[in-house]
């Protein structure tokens, strides 16, 4: 049991690429922290540096208060679960799980007892004498977990442990991982590129981009108050809508219409020296069909009307896609997010507004739809720096 502290940890490769830059992070004892971000953001490199599989170029790493920079992986007393599971194909499940214990030269009785205990926790008792080749994906994943927990290390490192599973199994395993971590109460650092995993699993989430930490916080905080455009776009599904907007005398004009800002928003913008040209962000779930909003609220919000392009009925709610008469908002961060989501491959259809309405909404494809949103829920970003200007509200 131990905490993990990264103090200005950086990783620079000989060819000049900087994979991680000044990463500051404190993982408390027993805490479950998720590193999340698109491919190449440095999350796996950071994890490998904690593991000792890659050298730290500069900065310090402490585990349980002890500086670990120069220690070999085997002397750090941490266990790791790999995306490929990395099960030794020549060993049975039992041998795989006992391998770390045998390396540590524990006596046979203790080894057997610990393996049996871990197998019971993970429901692997029936599989102990099988070889990895004869296991299903989910079983292999559990064996990989078993090999990690069997030696009760100071911390667990998990590198996308669920991403090789099919969607249904992934959801099941997600809850199991979460339960297991709570039960064991061991410090865990978990890397994923899947924001759903990040939101549901962790005590705190670290969003990374291009080797830098963007924001650290509990999932809800990241969702409610994203520090910048990147975090806002990365967290939440479907992703937040972004449009260009212009601010004049407390009035915000954009393709969504003119909105007059509340006092607290105005003060926040003034305090952060907001430029006149902004990016407006609003989440799909903050829209509602105008016909379903009662009179009292209708007046306090803004309205937008458009012809529904596509309507997806999810049962509990309805996703309605409305075309916007504008280009898609574009900054370095938004382009990277779009690339990560594969959106650059889509035919250029201009911008569209994604809204998530109540199931009762009568919206149908091709029909005019009037949607309502609460201006208090919008976020405004500086297009240059990507900073969220409305955090201080």
């Amino acid at each position: 049991m131990a905490d993990i502290v990264l103090d200005k940890v950086s990783k620079k490769f000989p060819d000049g690429t900087i994979a991680a830059s000044d990463v500051d992070l404190e993982v408390g004892d027993g805490e479950f922290v998720i590193l999340v971000g698109p491919s190449g953001c440095g999350k796996s490199t950071t994890l490998n540096m904690i593991a000792g599989l890659e050298d730290i170029s500069s900065g310090d790493l402490y585990i349980g208060g002890e500086r670990m920079n120069d220690k070999a992986p085997k002397d750090r007393d941490i266990a790791m679960v790999f995306q490929s599971y990395a099960l030794y194909p020549n060993m049975t499940v039992r041998e795989n799980m006992s391998f770390p214990l045998r390396l540590a030269k524990l006596d046979k009785a203790t080894v057997a007892q610990k393996v049996d205990e871990a197998a019971r926790v993970l429901e692997l008792e029936q599989l102990l004498d099988r070889k990895p080749a004869n296991l299903s994906g989910g079983q292999r994943q559990r064996v990989a977990m078993g090999r990690a927990i069997v030696r009760s290390p100071k911390a667990y490192l998990m590198d996308e442990p669920l991403s090789n599973l099919d969607a249904k199994l992934r959801v099941q395993m997600r809850t199991q991982v979460s339960r297991l971590q709570k039960q064991l109460g061991t410090t865990t650092v978990y890397v994923t590129h899947d924001q759903t995993e990040a939101m549901t699993l962790g005590d705190r989430v670290v969003v990374m981009r291009q080797g830098r930490v963007q924001q650290v916080g509990p999932p809800q905080e990241l969702y409610d108050s994203p520090a910048n455009l990147f975090v806002a776009g990365f967290i939440g599904s479907p992703a937040m809508n972004f449009v260009h907007a212009r601010l004049t005398d407390g009035q915000l004009s954009s393709v969504l219409g003119d909105v007059s800002l509340s006092g607290s928003l105005r003060r926040a913008l003034a305090a952060s020296d907001a430029p006149a040209d902004l990016i407006l962000g609003i989440r799909p779930e903050h829209f509602e069909d105008a016909g379903l909003v009662d009179e009292a609220h209708l007046g306090t919000g803004a309205r937008f009307e458009g012809q529904a392009d596509v309507v997806e009925s999810m049962g509990s709610d309805k996703y309605v896609y409305l075309p916007l008469a504008a280009e898609r908002a574009s900054t370095a961060e938004l382009d990277e997010l779009a690339a990560d989501a594969g959106a650059t491959d889509l035919p250029a259809s201009g911008a569209q507004l994604v809204t998530r309405l109540s199931a009762e909404s009568p919206a149908t494809e091709g029909a005019q739809v009037r949607v309502w949103f609460n201006p208090e829920k919008i976020h405004l970003f500086d297009p240059e720096t990507g900073r969220n200007l409305t955090l201080a509200r």
Partner: protein, 304 residues
């Protein structure tokens, strides 16, 4: 995430250590390979410029290119060269067709796949000399089933045309499985879905073969053809056993052997060595040029 790539790079000291280890590990193999091939071939260039007959060692002297003039103006060399080329071209062509058929059988057969593959490996593994004797006795009048069956009156191994034919048959039998294995590896690279798609698109069996299989297999085919061509060019064992080079059936290898062991003329022998080396280099070069980037030299790109 390119962790794998990154993991290999490490810090610069690590990088240097990695280089040293790489050189250290490769050195023994590299030294042996270069010492046993590079040095003798240079030495043979040097020997080929001398009169050097082991029966008359006292007459050893530097004579420039005379040995080359002697060899190249001699009917034996050109005959052996022609025989070698004939055997090479015919056997590789036939092997390619047969090998492809065999590869398809081994790849696709519904019954007894293991059995077929195992039996096909026998010709590959068997000692060439053993196989050659089997063919020799098969064609020996009186003794052999083939001689009695096909040519009850003649002695096929003593006539040039039929002897060459038998040599080619023996060579084809021995090496078709190897060709087939290389082609089978190429076949495994053709995605089943691609063939299905072509079938749905209306391609017949022949069109699927021509337009889908062959292009995908091109690299494997080139490797197979190149190695088999160079291998066929050095044919020796079969000729040694079947005809011993009699009746103008000598290959260039046979000629070199006879010159060395019977003639003990190292000057001429080395000249032959150099000429064969050059011929092989030209064949390899033509292959790479003709078929361009898919030749094995450039396949290195894909290794990493």
């Amino acid at each position: 995430m390119t962790v794998l790539q990154e993991g290999r790079r490490q810090l610069s000291e690590g990088k240097r250590a990695e280089r040293r280890l790489g050189w250290l590990l490769c050195a023994p193999a590299a030294v042996v390979m270069v010492a046993v091939t590079g040095w003798p071939i240079i030495y043979s260039v040097w020997l080929s410029l001398q009169r050097y007959d082991l029966r008359f060692p006292a007459e050893r002297e530097f004579i420039g290119l005379s040995n080359y003039a002697a060899v190249l103006s001699n009917g034996f060399w050109w005959n052996a060269f022609g025989v070698t080329m004939l055997i090479t071209v015919v056997s590789v062509a036939v092997e390619f067709v047969l090998g492809f058929a065999l590869a398809l059988v081994m790849h696709r057969t519904l019954v007894g796949r293991g059995l077929v593959r195992t039996s096909a490996l026998i010709p590959y593994g068997i000692v060439t000399v053993v196989a050659a004797f089997s063919w020799r006795y098969a064609w020996t009048p009186g003794t052999g089933y083939l001689a009695n069956l096909v040519t009850p009156d003649g002695a096929p191994l003593t006539e040039r045309a039929s002897a060459l034919g038998i040599i080619i048959v023996a060579e084809i039998w021995k090496t078709t499985p190897f060709m087939a294995l290389l082609l089978m590896a190429g076949l495994a690279l053709v995605p089943e879905d691609l063939l299905k798609a072509a079938a749905v698109d209306g391609a017949g069996a022949w069109q699927r073969f021509r337009s889908v299989m062959l292009p995908v297999m091109k690299p494997a085919i080139l490797v197979a053809l190149l190695f088999r061509t160079l291998d066929a060019f050095r044919i020796f064992d079969n000729i040694f056993v079947l005809t011993a080079g009699a009746n103008e059936t000598s290959s260039v290898s046979m000629l070199t052997y006879n010159n060395l062991i019977k003639g003990l003329n190292l000057g001429i022998g080395s000249t032959l060595s150099v000429l064969i080396f050059i011929a092989v280099a030209i064949i390899a070069f033509i292959f790479v040029r003709l078929f361009g980037t898919a030749a094995p030299g450039s396949a290195e790109e894909g290794r990493r």
